[in-house]
């Protein structure tokens, strides 16, 4: 068994395994809608999965435009839906 830990996404606790990206942990928890778009308010999720498309961007500990597919989850991270 891999070690599990938690971060929060829009205030909700999310469990993850060590080494998992934020996006992977969220998808695993069936949280597919990672953000809504700036103009149309449309839901977006992971798309390219390798840091090219920037569709999965979230706000991490107050810093915006972070690609959740690339950044590994850390204990206690505060993740919020970006725009």
């Amino acid at each position: 068994m891999s070690q599990t830990d938690r971060f929060t996404f829009n205030g909700v606790d999310i469990q993850y395994e060590e080494g998992q990206s934020i996006a992977a942990a969220l998808i695993n928890d069936e949280k597919r809608e990672l953000r809504s778009t700036r103009f149309g308010g449309e839901p977006r999720s992971i798309f390219c999965g390798i840091g090219i498309c920037f569709d999965c961007i979230v706000v991490i500990n107050g810093v915006g435009n972070q690609r959740s597919c690339l950044i590994q989850a850390q204990p206690g991270m505060k993740v919020e839906s970006g725009q």
Partner: protein, 446 residues
């Protein structure tokens, strides 16, 4: 010192080959572990089953003259006389590497085509599904449709099935009969038949029946529309609707040419319309002391990337390159050309779109706005359409949509996309978004 950018098959082979005569190598990559997209793996899982990868990983870890810099993203590069300065971000901190020679092995990413619903959650590239599974041990959903074109769909569909997903369908828009166009490539690469048999067995085991001449042309509220398409990818009428959690749709790959705009080396347009880097027989770019290997010189798969990487590594470190190695590359190139002939992306996809379909995901530009920029505002190429609509001006810098925008504009004007237009779409002065704070902290000069 040789700086190798990218630790996928090409970069690993280049670093290993260059280190054979003791040359100092810095291998820089954005991922936590080496292997690139192709040999993506988790620390705790050795599920990628590749003796070639294991051998390269252990060699590189054992050689003292190779320094592996992981989780570092190159955001710019510059040249001053005989010295290169490669600027990268690592854990939010800006840093630089200095070397006399550079090997670029930046790989490729999935090519995506728009369709109604491709921007909604549940739609992703096969590469995304693959990376979630292999890199993070997560299934993107339970019911999955794998579609698009190309041999990459096979490992994705069988890998997901192996991990417990229900593969609702595996659809390739092209016909396997197209392989008949490339008899020479098949005869000179017989090992590929064993790979085919391997996947045929897996497909059989998981009861996946690949269907050809079909494409996912819409996704709405968890239901995918799968249409029969002809050899031009035009919908011929017959459609089926399939409930699914995920559609993983990909149309081959696009090389990452970002560094070309920074270090100014020559690009050209490949036989399939893809902009690639131009290299000589020894993988040397148009600039002295910069070699390029792997997908960035034309999509060809891991076998070709390994050989190109080895040649680049040997050339950059001043070692002899055997004619056998060059012949091996020629054989793999034949196969790469056959792949392009067998899995073309035809223009008919433009007919799948509706006026409200998102074309540029970042800036939320719809087809209607691009059409209007051509018919009402007079845009004649993708560059002008981009200036009018902002398509391609978002965070991804047009990596996802610029080629599609060119094709859409060309479909309206009736003028073929020029090579200049194809190449212009890949030139970017900054490789990665960087904050002004990071810029000012790092004392960077642009």
């Amino acid at each position: 010192m040789i700086i190798v950018i990218g630790a996928g098959p090409a970069g690993l082979a280049a670093a290993e080959a260059a280190s054979r005569n003791g040359t100092e190598v810095a291998l820089i990559d954005s991922a936590p572990r080496m292997g690139g997209q192709y040999w993506r793996h988790r620390k705790s899982v050795t599920g990628y089953k590749s003796p070639r990868a294991d051998l390269l990983f252990s060699k590189i870890a054992a050689v003292e003259s190779i320094t592996h810099i992981s989780e570092a993203t190159v955001w710019s590069a510059e040249r001053e006389g005989d010295i290169f300065k490669i600027n990268y971000l690592q854990g939010g901190v800006e840093n630089s590497l200095v070397g006399e020679k550079v090997i670029v092995a930046t790989g490729a990413y999935d090519r995506a085509l728009p369709f109604p619903g491709w921007d909604t959650p549940g739609s992703m590239t096969p590469g995304a599904a693959q990376s979630l599974l292999k890199g993070h041990g997560v299934l993107p959903g339970q019911k999955i449709i794998v579609a698009g074109t190309g041999p990459f769909l096979l490992p994705v569909a069988t890998g997901l099935a192996e991990a417990g997903a229900d593969i609702v369908g595996l659809f390739d828009a092209n016909s396997p009969l197209r392989w008949a166009l490339s008899p020479r490539a098949l005869i000179s690469n017989l090992s590929k038949f064993f790979e085919l048999i391997y996947y045929a067995r897996l497909l059989n085991k998981y009861r996946i029946k690949p269907q050809f001449g079909r494409a996912v042309t819409a996704l709405k509220d968890g239901v995918a529309t799968v249409s029969k398409v002809d050899s031009h990818f035009s919908i011929t009428g017959q459609q089926a609707t399939l409930p699914t959690d995920v559609v993983a749709v990909g149309w081959g790959f696009l090389p990452d040419l970002t560094l070309g705009g920074l270090l100014v080396f020559k690009q050209k347009v490949d036989s399939d319309g893809t902009a690639i880097f131009s290299v000589d027989n020894f993988q040397l770019s148009s600039q002295r002391d910069i070699w390029i290997a792997g997908e960035a010189t034309g999509i060809g798969g891991a076998d070709l990337s390994l050989i190109e990487g080895e040649i680049a590594g040997l050339a950059a470190s001043g070692q002899k390159i055997s004619p056998t190695l060059l012949r091996k590359r020629f054989r793999k190139q034949l196969f790469a050309d056959a792949l392009k002939r067998s899995y073309p992306v035809q223009d008919g996809w433009r007919g799948w779109l509706s006026v409200g379909t998102t074309i540029c995901r970042c800036e939320e530009v719809k087809l209607q706005e691009i059409s209007d920029s051509v018919s009402e505002l007079g845009a004649e190429d993708s560059r002008t359409a981009k200036l009018f609509t902002r398509a391609g001006m978002g965070l991804c810098q047009g990596r996802m949509c610029s080629r599609n925008v060119s094709d859409i504009v060309s479909g309206i004007t009736g003028c073929a996309v020029t090579d200049t237009d194809r190449i212009a779409g890949s030139n970017r002065p900054i490789a990665e978004p960087i904050s002004l704070g990071q810029l000012s902290d790092g004392n960077i000069r642009l």
